[in-house]
């Protein structure tokens, strides 16, 4: 029984440590990529493009988009923060920029996030964590410039970000935005 308990704890621990990093794959250029193809039954490519742009504008307004005229495609560049430290000492360790590509066809779409580049943060004189100018480290070659423990953490956070992006995207595409529920008014001078 003890062995079973230890094995269970070990399996869960390993799963916790590596689950998010494993969401990333390598593309044909040996770059990390998060690639997904999804079905969208009943929706045309034009509708999907409109929904996709609406999604990005709503949830990721800071992604700089480059819509391609005449094509049902969207390209963009964004970034997210990665954190280090534990508990109350947790703070920004850097930012990771990425390239976003989305393609829409009738009843399906695909998207991929790639080109992950890490820029470390440092604390400035005013107590803020800011990007170290001129330091850009592709995640593929990060092990040559950063500690392995840090690289693993950044890959985990990248995987988590990509999955979160994909989950939100799917939710938005397949479900119409919820209407805001209006609060029922009560008139107190009438019974």
């Amino acid at each position: 029984m003890k062995i079973k308990i230890i094995a269970l704890v070990f399996i869960l621990f390993v799963k916790t440590s590596f689950a998010q990093q494993n969401l990333l794959s390598f593309d044909e250029h040996n770059k990390y990529i998060y690639y997904q193809v999804a079905d969208a039954p009943g929706l045309t490519a034009d509708t999907l493009l409109t929904k996709g742009l609406s999604f990005l504008k709503t949830y990721y307004p800071k992604i700089r988009l480059k819509p391609i005229v005449g094509e049902n495609m969207v390209n963009g560049q964004g970034k997210f923060l990665v954190y280090g430290g534990v508990s109350v000492l947790k703070h920004e360790k850097g930012e990771i920029t990425f390239q976003l590509n989305i393609e829409f066809k009738d009843q399906k779409y695909r998207y991929w996030l790639t080109g992950f580049i890490f820029t470390p943060y440092q604390r400035d004189r005013y107590g803020n964590f800011v990007a170290q100018q001129g330091i850009e480290i592709p995640l593929e070659s990060a092990l040559s410039k950063l500690e392995k423990r840090d690289v693993d953490a950044y890959l985990d956070e990248t995987g988590t970000f990509c999955k979160q992006f994909g989950d939100r995207f799917k939710q938005f595409i397949t479900h119409a935005p919820k209407k805001e529920e209006t609060i029922k008014k009560v008139v107190t001078d009438k019974w």
Binding site: L12, R123, G127, Q133, F161
Partner: protein, 357 residues
């Protein structure tokens, strides 16, 4: 019982998974309270056998000495934020900051509160920010925090310039390449409050990014009580391994006095591996002739040249900093040799350790 225990482990493990997933990425919402800071200690040996070079910190000779514990808190909610940064230890007390309990300045050995940053800030728009309080100075290349400096000893320009300015400032970002800060500050540098009941030091900083990875700050702080300092601070990350920094400044004494100082310092730094970066600081500093006599450096009318070779060796959050420094003055009135006789040169070695969190 065993089943319950197994279920408990499963539940706790699942909870930790869920917590990790929610806590790892902060893409939206208010940032958590952030605590950061550093701890530093050093050993210095001047080749004369006694302290010679008037560096702001690392001034105790043949002693394993402490810098400070630095603790900073930051919190942002929506467009508003605050920073509160306290320091404990000689580096963050009598060697740099005033004592709060007695209203006196540079009172050694009197413990009280020692603030490096205490300000509130509000982003009126994405491009327009207002800040007020007691803030690290916007002047100069080097700072009090050892974690934000490459060299452990400090330049003459740093030692003689402001460390802190209390005031109100507005910053507008015109583009990715240009921003402007302008503000009004208390009558004297480094004090928690106006000493003469005046808020009459004008400060401004023009930030320019001429090309990618090169930023220049043109600064001015001018007031009848604090004097006028015009400063250029710039850094260019030329390659991922090589960075070049420059600081040049000119200070004119306050109203009613004459003299001041001027100087220039160059900071080339080369990362030779992921753990080791080598750097030099070459500085030329001159004290102007006049009645302003509080300069930590050569006597009025004289100059000094300093060359500092420093390595930063990183082991996670810990940085070891071995450093050797050669200073040479134009006159033999600034330093003394091992026998106590005046001499024009001084050399020191130090080894410091800085842990940043």
């Amino acid at each position: 019982m065993k089943k319950k225990f197994l279920l408990l482990i499963l539940a706790v493990s699942s909870l930790s998974l869920a917590v990790k997933a929610q806590d790892t990425i902060k893409t939206t919402g208010d940032a958590p309270l952030v605590i950061s800071g550093s701890v530093d200690t050093y050993f210095k040996s001047d080749f004369s056998g006694h302290a010679n070079i008037p560096t702001s910190f690392a001034n105790e000779n043949s002693s394993i000495s402490i810098g400070m514990v630095d603790l900073a808190l930051k919190k942002s909610v929506g467009k508003a934020s605050f920073v509160g940064e306290l320091s404990f230890g000689p580096r963050g007390q009598e060697q740099s900051l005033p004592d709060g309990s007695t209203k006196s300045i540079y009172t050694a050995g009197v413990s009280s509160y020692h603030i490096q940053n205490l300000y509130v800030s509000y982003n009126v728009t994405d491009k327009f920010n207002l800040s007020a309080g007691y803030m690290s100075t916007f002047i100069g290349y080097e700072v009090i925090s050892p974690a934000a400096n490459f060299n452990y000893s400090t330049s003459y320009l740093f030692t003689n310039g402001p460390f802190e300015n209390a005031g109100f400032k507005a910053t507008y970002t015109f583009s990715d390449k240009v921003s402007l800060m302008a503000g009004i500050f208390n009558d004297y540098w480094n004090t928690y409050q106006s000493l003469g009941g005046r808020v009459n030091t004008f400060g401004a900083q023009l930030t320019i990014t001429p090309v990618k990875n090169w930023t220049a700050y043109i600064n001015v702080a001018a007031g009848p009580q604090s004097g006028t300092e015009i400063d250029l601070t710039t850094a260019y990350q030329i390659t991922s391994a090589f960075k070049l920094g420059l600081n040049a400044a000119d200070f004119t004494a306050p109203t009613g006095m004459s003299g001041g100082f001027s100087g220039v310092a160059l900071y080339p730094q080369l990362a030779v591996s992921k753990a080791v970066t080598l750097g030099l600081r070459g500085e030329y500093f001159t004290t102007k002739s006049g009645t302003w006599t509080t300069t930590a450096g050569p006597n009025p009318g004289a100059s000094v040249t300093g060359l500092t070779a420093t390595a930063n060796i990183k082991a996670g959050p810990l940085t070891l900093i071995p450093e050797i420094r050669f200073d040479n003055s134009s006159k033999n009135t600034m330093f003394t040799d091992g026998a106590g006789a005046p001499t024009s040169g001084a050399t020191q070695f130090l080894l410091a350790a800085v842990y940043a969190f």
